[in-house]
Amino acid sequence: MKIKGAAAIVKCLLEQNATTVFGYPGGQIIDLFDELYREPKITSVLTSHEQGAAHAAEGYAKATGKVGVVIATSGPGATNLVTGIADAYLDSVPLVAITGNVPVPLLGRDSFQEVDIAGITMPVTKHNFIVKNAQDLPDVIRRAFSLAKSGRQGPVLVDVPKDVQQAMIEYEQKPSDPPSAPTEPKDITAAVNLINAAKRPVIYAGGGCIASDASEQLTQFAERIKAPVALSVMGLSALPKTSKYYAGMIGMHGHASVARLIGQSDLVIAAGARFSDRVAGDRTKFCKHAKILHIDIDAAEIDKNVTTDAHICGDVKQTLELLNARVEQKADETMLQLNAELKREYPLPDCKGKLSPRTVIRYVSAHARDAIVATDVGQHQMWVAQEYSFPAPRTFLTSGGLGTMGFGLGAAIGGAVGTGKRAVLFTGDGSFHMNMNELATATRLNLPITVFVFDNRTLGMVRQWQTLFYGGRYSSTNLDGNKTDFVKIAEAFGAKGYILDDDKDVAKIVDTALSENGVTVVDCKIDRDEFVLPMIPPGKTMNDIITSLDEPKKENRQ
């Protein structure tokens, strides 16, 4: 059957069951949008900005486990995707980005809205393609999906010149590739021996546990070896807070109890985690007293940051299943008891202002039980990571690796569209200013999204560093001059806005905001000198943890 290239792209999207795409049209991608217009089985979500579309596709992918699809035109449309693509790369989010480009004869001539997006995105994609031969188009799209969802997942970009979209090509429907079999873990004997010999094991679980849907196996594993589970930011939601095995968050702003727990362990088992610098501040000193076992699907992660004593390269879920069948059942609950004691001994610090962000988060956590939770990046993100009780895997959408301010609203839209559930976005006044234009998208679609803006008239996380490490010189972080009225902003976009400035009003206002069907924005006025504690200063170890501001470490480190 001969059809247009653009029509073949749409057919291939259907082959992949990609029924929702996010994007923004433009001159060199009109043909593809024209074909989407004629295809009722695909919902095309128009955003305000391509960056928002990319984050929405990420949020969709993270919340549903499917491959996210984002479409943009050439030139600025394509470059606006780059932050989202890089974000997906660092957090291993399966994403296919399709960009238009100028017709093949115009490539390389600095034509209008021409940019080498394949060259630009090479370092932040698993792979990318420029399709110059129209007949290659269907197989390239199929390959892009296959690459995005296989092994360690990630973004793939396909750049399609306009004449390739317009060319008539032969198309034959093919079934979607079955998900490639997870990497078969090879020899696990060394790992089994290490676990059996351990007296005080701790599990450090990361985003790989979410990506491979391994929560059940993780809990069974923790039960079998009586090990508490510390979660990286990307691993949060892999285990409910209520679980007996839940220890808390590990890393720069992780729970102090977890830092101490890890310090007492004789075996750290990293499962789908990568010892990033935000977890292993000083990678050469990380858990020197303990043995390290690393489970990861990406062989290149093994021994990359921290040298391991044993490793298993494979899908986390499958690996944990194998381990659960092989390791000895332990009876000694020493580490579980220690975990419970340390949690009691080292509770999270309280906030001091009239409205505590922690109070808001805890209340929302208790009353928006089913919601998808998104954040932007900064203090609010860490407070949510520390406090929120995520009800199930894939309910937490955050930018972990790239740390993208402006990620949240797009992600919340993608999460709400993908799951049909309410999305709650926690953001700061700094982050929200970056991409709040997507309120237009959320209100147009009448999505049930509630935004909590932790409004402290400063770029709080940078201010915190300036306080601790830069002698209180608040360079370019003071937003006092901002005249933004978030309630009016909400109303101007067709949403409802509320102000919250006192702990005693939390229940009333949060209940109201969460009961609305459409978009609501709650301007939460908080004190600018609330800090995210505890904090392990960058490049340091858990011995240097700051748990209160009476012991600031004034040092210039970045």
Partner: protein, 169 residues
């Protein structure tokens, strides 16, 4: 990083013979801060594949990372380290030096000693060609320095393992 254990490694990689592949691989080396001493690309017996021979410096953990990171590129089909002692290592040199009439006989003697070929003559210069192990090339260049090197071009190392086997990772 670990100056004491840093040494040269020869990586041989079979990659897709497509545009952009060299950029992907050199970009990977640049952004992950791996040091390339030389990189040579050539056609192979299979028209779909090119062979890259890359000489890098680093300790064993860096080498392991390089091979694993290369392995993640879909365009990189096979990657492995060549053992220098069990491989044929060759490089081609073209070198142009000053050669006034009274020095020609001397230069020809040097060329014969190294089995270099004289491939171009002009009234006051000579271009010579030499193939050999990098060490031999280095030595040859050193000897010719006294005559005045006008310019030179080296291909960088290319290599194959000795014996009947093929590259496998």
């Amino acid at each position: 990083m670990n100056g004491s254990t840093e040494k040269s490694h020869i990586i041989s990689a079979l990659v897709s013979n497509e545009s952009g592949v060299l950029t992907r691989i050199s970009g990977l080396f640049a952004r992950r801060c791996y040091n390339i001493d030389s990189l040579a690309v050539c056609a192979t017996e299979d028209e779909k594949l090119s062979r890259m021979t890359i000489v890098v410096r680093g300790d064993d953990s860096v080498l392991k990372q390089i091979v694993l990171q290369l392995g993640k590129l879909p365009d990189c089909k096979l990657t492995g380290e060549l053992n220098a002692n069990k491989s044929v290592l060759r490089e081609l040199l073209l070198i142009k030096i000053n050669a006034a009439a009274d020095k020609r006989a001397e230069i020809e003697t040097v060329a014969r000693t190294y089995e270099a070929k004289i491939v171009d003559l002009s009234p006051d210069s000579i271009v010579m060609e030499l193939t050999g192990k990098p060490g031999k090339i280095d030595g040859f260049i050193e000897v010719l320095k006294s005559y005045g090197i006008i310019e030179l071009s080296r291909t960088g190392l290319t290599a194959l393992e000795r014996g009947g086997g093929k590259l496998n990772s």
